[in-house]
C-alpha cells in the first residue's frame, strides 16, 4: 500500500497537465508526525506535495459538496462510498469527478499508537506491514494490524467501489468480520443499563460539534443544533440536550453512514460516536439489506417506499 504515491503523483500530474481536472484533492504531510492533512493541488508542479501512507485517515469526500470545478479525488473504500452518497444526494455530478481509487488495507489509529508508546512521537516510519515510531530516545515497532482504527479492522469494503484510475492492485476484502459485536452487546442490556451506559459515554461531551464538522454527511447549511428559530435543542451541555444532539445527528445519517470513522477521529474527548451510527447501519442492513454508498443508481431505503417494506413498530 505504501508504494501508491508514485502512481498517485503520476496520475495527478497527468490529469492537471492535460487539464482534465482543475484540482486534485489529496493528502499532504501534516505539521505533526503521523498526521496528514487534506490538500487541494491546482498546479502540475505542486503534485509532489501529495503523500500517501497509513495516516491518510481523513475522508476526502467531505470536501466535494457543491463544488463547481472538475475535481480529481483520491478515494479509499470508504471515501468512494461517500462519493457515491454525494452522487445519490446530488451534491456533485459524476462528470465533474475523476476518482483516483486507492485500495486500502486500513489506516492506523494514532490514539492507540500514542497510548501504547507512552511518549511523544517525534519520528515515524512505515513499511508494508509495520510502523516504527521514535521519540524521547525510545523506538518501538508495531504491526499495522494491531494498531488499525477500529472501523478499519472491521471494514468489508476496502477497495474503492467506483473509480476511474487505480493506483495499486485491488486488495483482498475481509470476509467473516463480525461488524456488530459491540452493538449486540449493548442491545442485550436492559433498558436502564442502556440508558446509563450512554449517559456515561456522553458525560464528557463538550458539544464542540467536531464530529458533525468532520462528517462527510453533515452538510446542511444550518445544522438543527445551530438553529434558533425554532430552537430544537438547548445549546448548553445539559445531558438531555447532549443526548438529543447525538441521537438526532445519528438518525440524520441513517442509511447514509459508511462507517468511515471521521466522527470518532475528530472527537477530542474520545467518545465512541460510532456506536450510534453503527446501530443504524446494522438496522438498515437487517431490515432493508442496505449498505450505503455501493450503487449510485439505487435510492436509499429511507427515501423509497416498497409495498413489502418491513413495518417495524407501525400499528
Amino acid at each position: 500500500m505504501i508504494g501508491y504515491i508514485d502512481k498517485i503523483r503520476e496520475v495527478s500530474r497527468k490529469l492537471l497537465t492535460e487539464e482534465k481536472v482543475d484540482m486534485v484533492i489529496g493528502y499532504r504531510k501534516g505539521s505533526l508526525p503521523m498526521m496528514t492533512e487534506p490538500c487541494f493541488v491546482k498546479r502540475p508542479e505542486d503534485v509532489d506535495t501529495l503523500v500517501w501512507d497509513s495516516n491518510c485517515r481523513i475522508n476526502l469526500a467531505a470536501y466535494l459538496m457543491d463544488r463547481k470545478e472538475k475535481i480529481g479525488i483520491i478515494a479509499k473504500g470508504c471515501d468512494s462510498r461517500n462519493i457515491i452518497n454525494h452522487l445519490v444526494e446530488n451534491k456533485i455530478k459524476r462528470e465533474q469527478l475523476v476518482i483516483i481509487g486507492a485500495p486500502c488495507k486500513g489506516m492506523i489509529d494514532k490514539k492507540t499508537v500514542t497510548q501504547q508508546f507512552g511518549q511523544e512521537i517525534d519520528e515515524y516510519q512505515e513499511t508494508e506491514d509495520q510502523i516504527t515510531v521514535k521519540g524521547g530516545g525510545v523506538e518501538k515497532t508495531f504491526q499495522k494490524v494491531d494498531v488499525l482504527q477500529e472501523n478499519c479492522a472491521i471494514c468489508n469494503h476496502r477497495n474503492p467501489v467506483e473509480y476511474d484510475e487505480l493506483v495499486g492492485d485491488l486488495v483482498e476484502e475481509q470476509v467473516d468480520v463480525d461488524r456488530y459485536e459491540d452493538i449486540r452487546r449493548i442491545e442485550a442490556m436492559d433498558i436502564d443499563e442502556k440508558w446509563n451506559f450512554f449517559e456515561d459515554i456522553l458525560s464528557t461531551c463538550i458539544r464542540c460539534y467536531a464530529c458533525r464538522n468532520a462528517c462527510p454527511l453533515c452538510y446542511c447549511p444550518t445544522c438543527f443544533v445551530d438553529e434558533s428559530k425554532p430552537q430544537w435543542v438547548g445549546k448548553g451541555n445539559d445531558p438531555a440536550d447532549t443526548r438529543t444532539f447525538h441521537f438526532l445527528r445519528a438518525f440524520h445519517c441513517a442509511g447514509r453512514c459508511t462507517d468511515c470513522g471521521a466522527c470518532e477521529r475528530a472527537c477530542p474527548m474520545d467518545i465512541p460516536v460510532r456506536l450510534f451510527t453503527k446501530k443504524l447501519g446494522k438496522d438498515c442492513l437487517e431490515l432493508y439489506g442496505w449498505e450505503a454508498g455501493l450503487n449510485p443508481d439505487q435510492r436509499p431505503p429511507l427515501d423509497t417506499f416498497k409495498p413489502d417494506d418491513p413495518e417495524v413498530g407501525i400499528k
Binding site: 442491545e187 440508558w195 446509563n196 445539559d238 441521537f247 413498530g313 400499528k315
Partner: protein, 56 residues
Amino acid sequence: MGNLLEYMGIERDRLHFSWVSSAEASKFITVVKEVTASVKALGPAKKFVKDRRQVS
C-alpha cells in the same frame, strides 16, 4: 427510530406510529386506547427531563 430510542435506553412503548384514515374511527379508538394503556403501564418518563432549576 424506535429501534434507536430503545438502543439508547428509552422504553419502546413510549413511541407509537400508526396509519389511520379519517374514515377509520374505530381503528383510531383502538390505537388511542393502546397508546394510553401502554404509556400508563410505563409510568412517568424520568429520562430526557431537565431539572427545572437548571432551565430557568
